[in-house]
Structure formats: structure tokens, C-alpha cells
């Protein structure tokens, strides 16, 4: 039974199709795994075995009747707590939403249910997705399955750790500046930020509406593609949702071929500031692609120098506005000051008690950036930098099909190490942020282990807007080349977790 957890979602789909496993068996195996290791990993904020097993039993019944809804019908999936769900609480990692249950499902969750997938639980995250380590979760950090003393990345450290620890074959994440890709990088897993508008944001508790995007978190590229094919598509509930006929991402992986593919390597995301082991694995991966027929082109994207600064004006500005809805009136926490108070005093006491330090920091910064006298200089200039970043990418994509870089400058750091230095943690997002500013898709997949610490390293590819399939092509091809070279998957090298301790 426990072997079931080590299969990919695609393999589990085959097992379901040929009758060698049932959804109830697969779901129970993952629930058992969660019970065995999640006290240590803390990937999940909420699990309800009864609800998951009922969905699994319904899937088995459909399949027995010859009415499976999708190849992945019956496969369990973990859901980042930023996506609202009607049968599980949704907190976005914040005390201000503790215990809150949404009256509606987020569209990506609806699509999973309509395809028959089995929601396993809600995964931990930095509060309102603000952070790169999950240490800003109000419910305590998630730990990296490769080393429990290290961060699993953020904000979606819970989803990445859940798939890395074999607690779920699939998960959903959200990526505003790297929250899907950076956790994939530090946990040896795969994460995709689709084109902005490719996946509905309806029911995703908004951080920065012009940057947020929902995407797949998995252990391999094909699984991500199959999940992507389910969640993508237009949604009338999201006015930024694209009306685009998406090709099958799974087909792109199955037909992966890099012969003649032009890959740009960004000079600004190479060399100084990057850990040697991160660069070594990156350059090896690029050489491997070149040896297999890809053409490598050096690219300069000068505006990236200002991207992090622009991001940390745009994001707090949008967040300060989005988080105004947590006002103690319609849902969530209400704290009344001693002796009562006006509604404004109640709101202020509630938000003081309900928000953590990083959320307050960013709301105050955003309020500053938007205030009279500063708006043009800060928020206005940041939006202009955004134009420069888009122009740089547009010029780059005239010369190449995809752009490659290390996903992040370092491997996983120790819990607590960067907590006192927000600017240092923010700088770690320099390779992932530009894609969000430009609205283009990005993937991170494992490139190997860093020599100096034996920890996972990811490689990132970016493609023009609406060309997500290119990421699955190059990602699928590189994954296969690396697995052939190593003779195993990267995750099979992760140390075994202590099982059943409690």
C-alpha cells in the first residue's frame, strides 16, 4: 500500500484505469503518509480524511460504471490554503481568517472537483502569501523534507513540501513573485506559474491582483502538465481571465524535443550573488540541452536590475488595497477594544491582532507608496519599470524561444536565518519576480544537488505570454535527459523521513 505514494500521478492514473488500484486505496495511502510524517513536515493546515475518502469512493463508483471524468479522476490533490473551499476552512495562513469556511469554491478547485480529483487538504503558506519561507504563516513554519531544519521555500512551502514528502502526488499553488517556483527549487520538485490570466484567480484570496497566478505543484513535469490542462481556461468570474484556446500541455511533454530550440541565458541572472552549486547545476543543464540540439544565446535584460524594487512597491500597494476587506464586519476575526469602541477602533484592533509582522510591514509600505505626494514617484515609477521589463522580455523573445536562469540564488537556508532581514529575503526573488511583472509563464524543475550542501537546485525557464506549452516542452525534455544521466529522479535521493513518530 505505502508504495502507492511513490508513484507519479500519471502512473496512478494508469493503475486506476487498469484496475490495479482504487481511488480509496490511493487516497488512504496518502492520508496514512500524512499521519506518519506531517507532524514533522507540517505541510498541511487542514486534513479531513472522511471528506477525502468520500470523494475517493464516489470516484471509484464512477469508474466502475465506466464514467470516469478525466484520466486523473480519483487522484488526490493538496490545495494551497489561499484557494477557498466549501468543505474545508481557508485561512491563507492568517489568524484573521482562522476557521473561516467559504460559501463558494475557487474556480481551480471547482475544476478539480469536476474532473473527479480528490482534495486531500489545505497546505501551509506564508500569511497571505507574503514570504519566501513559510515562516510567516500564523500557524508555524513548514519544514523542508530534505532537511527539517531548513525552509521549504515560500509562500507555497506547504504545497511543495507535501509533494516532496510524498504526502500528495499533486498540489495547487499561487505565484505572485515566485511562490510556486522558488519552493520547487528548494524542495527538488516541479512548479509552474502559468501565463497571467491562463488560470482563473476567482476564489484565490488576492495578494497582488496584477501579479497573482494559480498553478501546478508536482514531482515531475508530465504530472504538472496534466494538472495544468484541468485548471486552465476562461472563467467568467475572473475579468482578467484569458479567452484562449490552450493546447494540451501533456502532449507538449509527451512530444518534448529541444532540437533547434533557442534558449536565452540571462547575463543579469548569472554569476555574482548566486551560490556556486546553484550556478554549476544550471550551467551543466544548459550544456546538456546544447549537446542535445538546443541553441544557446546570451541575453541581456538590463531592466531586471530594478525589477525587485518595482515589485516591492507594486505588490505592497495592491496588497494594502486587497487586504482592506479584512475589516471585522463581514467575515473573519473581530476584536473589540476594552470598553468598546467605534467601528473604526474595532477594525484597527482586529487588524492589529489578526495580522502578522510581515503583513503589517507590507500594508504600511503599500499605504506609503500610494499616499498623496509619493504616488507618482514610487508607485508610478514602479509601473514604468514594469513597462521596461516587458520591453526587455519582448526584445529577448525575438531572439530566443525560451529564457533560462537559476530559479533562485541559493539553496534552502536554515529556519530563522533571514527572519530579521526582510530585504535580504526579498532579494532572493530576483530571478522569479520579472515573470510576474511581465505576465509571462515560468517553470522550475530540479537540476541537481549543490556540491557544497547537497541540497536541491532548480532551473527556471520562461516563455512569452500564452506560450506555456514551450515550458512543458523544454522542461519535459530536460527532465528526461537528467533522469537518464543520473539513473534516478532527484527526489529519490532525499533522506527518508522518520515515519510514525507520533
Amino acid at each position: 500500500m505505502s508504495e502507492l505514494i511513490h508513484h507519479t500521478a500519471a502512473e496512478l492514473a494508469t493503475a486506476l484505469a487498469d484496475g490495479s488500484a482504487s481511488s480509496v486505496e490511493i487516497t488512504q495511502a496518502h492520508l496514512d503518509r500524512i499521519a506518519a510524517v506531517d507532524t514533522d513536515v507540517h505541510a498541511f493546515l487542514h486534513v479531513n480524511a472522511e471528506v477525502s475518502l468520500a470523494a475517493a469512493a464516489a470516484s471509484d463508483k464512477r469508474r466502475a460504471a465506466g464514467a470516469a471524468l478525466n484520466a486523473l479522476d480519483g487522484i488526490p490533490v493538496a490545495i494551497k490554503d489561499v484557494l477557498v473551499t466549501t468543505d474545508m476552512p481557508s485561512t491563507a495562513g492568517s489568524k484573521i481568517l482562522e476557521g473561516w469556511v467559504s460559501p463558494y469554491d475557487a474556480t481551480p478547485v471547482t475544476k478539480l472537483r469536476e474532473a473527479g480529483l480528490v482534495p486531500l487538504g489545505k497546505t501551509n503558506m506564508d500569511e497571505f502569501a507574503m514570504g519566501s519561507s513559510t515562516e510567516h504563516s500564523a500557524y508555524g513554519p513548514t519544514r523542508n523534507p530534505w532537511d527539517l531544519d531548513r525552509i521549504p521555500g515560500g509562500s507555497g512551502g506547504g504545497s511543495a513540501a507535501a509533494v516532496a514528502a510524498f504526502e500528495a502526488p499533486l498540489a495547487l499553488g499561487s505565484d505572485t513573485g515566485g511562490s510556486i517556483r522558488q519552493p520547487a527549487h528548494v524542495t527538488g520538485t516541479v512548479g509552474i506559474k502559468p501565463t497571467y490570466g491562463g488560470v482563473s484567480r476567482y476564489g484565490a484570496i488576492a495578494l497582488a491582483s496584477s501579479l497573482d497566478q494559480i498553478g501546478p505543484v508536482t514531482r515531475n513535469v508530465l504530472d504538472a502538465a496534466m494538472l495544468h490542462d484541468i485548471i486552465a481556461g476562461h472563467d467568467r468570474h475572473d475579468s482578467t481571465s484569458l479567452k484562449h484556446e490552450w493546447p494540451s500541455m501533456a502532449e507538449a511533454v509527451r512530444n518534448a524535443n529541444v532540437k533547434g530550440l533557442r534558449i536565452g541565458v540571462v547575463s543579469q541572472l548569472d554569476g555574482e550573488g548566486f551560490q556556486p552549486g546553484v550556478l554549476a547545476r544550471f550551467h551543466e543543464a544548459i550544456a546538456l540541452l546544447e549537446a542535445n540540439g538546443a541553441e544557446i544565446v546570451e541575453l541581456s535584460l538590463p531592466s531586471l536590475e530594478h525589477a525587485v524594487a518595482a515589485y516591492y512597491l507594486i505588490l505592497p500597494a495592491e496588497a494594502s488595497s486587497n487586504l482592506a476587506k479584512f475589516d471585522s464586519v463581514r467575515f473573519g476575526l473581530r476584536v473589540t477594544p476594552e470598553g468598546g469602541g467605534t467601528v473604526e477602533q474595532v477594525m484597527s484592533a482586529t487588524r492589529e491582532a489578526g495580522f502578522g509582522a510581515e503583513v503589517k510591514r507590507r500594508i504600511i509600505l503599500g499605504t506609503y507608496a500610494l499616499s498623496a505626494g509619493y504616488y507618482d514617484a514610487y508607485y508610478g515609477s514602479a509601473q514604468k519599470v514594469r513597462t521596461l521589463v516587458q520591453r526587455d522580455f519582448a526584445a529577448g523573445f525575438e531572439k530566443v524561444d525560451v529564457i533560462a536562469s537559476p530559479t533562485a540564488p541559493t539553496t534552502a537556508w536554515k529556519l530563522g536565518e533571514q527572519l530579521d532581514d526582510p530585504l535580504e529575503m526579498w532579494r532572493g526573488d530576483l530571478a522569479t519576480i520579472p515573470a510576474n511583472l511581465a505576465g509571462i509563464p515560468g517553470i522550475s524543475l530540479p537540476a541537481g544537488l549543490a556540491d557544497e550542501d547537497g541540497l536541491p537546485v532548480g532551473i527556471q525557464f520562461l516563455a512569452p505570454a500564452r506560450e506555456d506549452a514551450r515550458l512543458y516542452n523544454v522542461g519535459g525534455a530536460l527532465e528526461q535527459l537528467l533522469v537518464d544521466k543520473w539513473g534516478h529522479t532527484l527526489l529519490s535521493q532525499a533522506p527518508a523521513l522518520k515515519v510514525g513518530a507520533r
Binding site: Y104, Y312, T336, Y368, P422
Partner: protein, 100 residues
């Protein structure tokens, strides 16, 4: 150097409706000064001729039919998570203070 003082942080916290403690005001004043010094680089990175981008993939005229669909919340659903309500409305404490 930025012009962030404890007084300006208190003002911003008031606008943002967060009742910061004195210790938080002191800490945030130092942090925000540092952060603003770094992010202020955007002002020298662009010129007046550069257009602003507010949205990565701009769409225009996103309309829907002006009809009520079956996926709007019922009043009961809308009120279900409210800290306090009277069955048809959200209840809050006094809007105005005594001095207003």
C-alpha cells in the same frame, strides 16, 4: 534618505486601520526607512516618456450579460461568517465616536 518618522508611521497605520503598538511603530520606522531607501531606485530608472503598465496583459471591454445568475450568494450565505448580524444586515459598533 527617506523621510520616514515615527509620526508618519502612526499616520500610515491610521490610514491602514492597524492599531500598532509603540514597539511596532519604532521597529517599522527603522525598517521602512531602509526599505524605502532601496525601492526608491525606481525613480531614477525611468523617465517621463516611459508609459506606465498597470496590468500585464491588458483586456478591454470585459462585460457580461446584465442578468442575475444562479451563483450569487443567498443572504444567509453572505451573513453566515459575519462576526455579528441581525438576520438581514451586518451589525457593527457605533460609526461615530462621542466627540463627532
Amino acid at each position: 534618505m527617506s523621510d520616514i518618522s515615527e509620526e508618519s508611521v502612526r499616520h500610515l497605520a491610521g490610514l491602514a486601520r492597524i492599531a500598532l503598538t509603540d514597539a511596532e511603530v519604532t521597529a517599522l520606522t527603522a525598517e521602512l526607512s531602509q526599505i524605502v531607501d532601496v525601492v526608491a531606485q525606481v525613480t531614477s530608472a525611468v523617465d517621463a516618456d516611459t508609459p506606465a503598465t498597470s496590468h500585464p496583459i491588458p483586456l478591454s471591454n470585459v462585460y457580461r450579460e446584465d442578468v442575475v445568475t444562479d451563483d450569487v450568494l443567498t443572504p444567509e450565505q453572505a451573513l453566515a461568517s459575519a462576526p455579528e448580524h441581525d438576520g438581514s444586515r451586518f451589525k457593527v459598533s457605533a460609526i461615530l465616536g462621542e466627540e463627532q
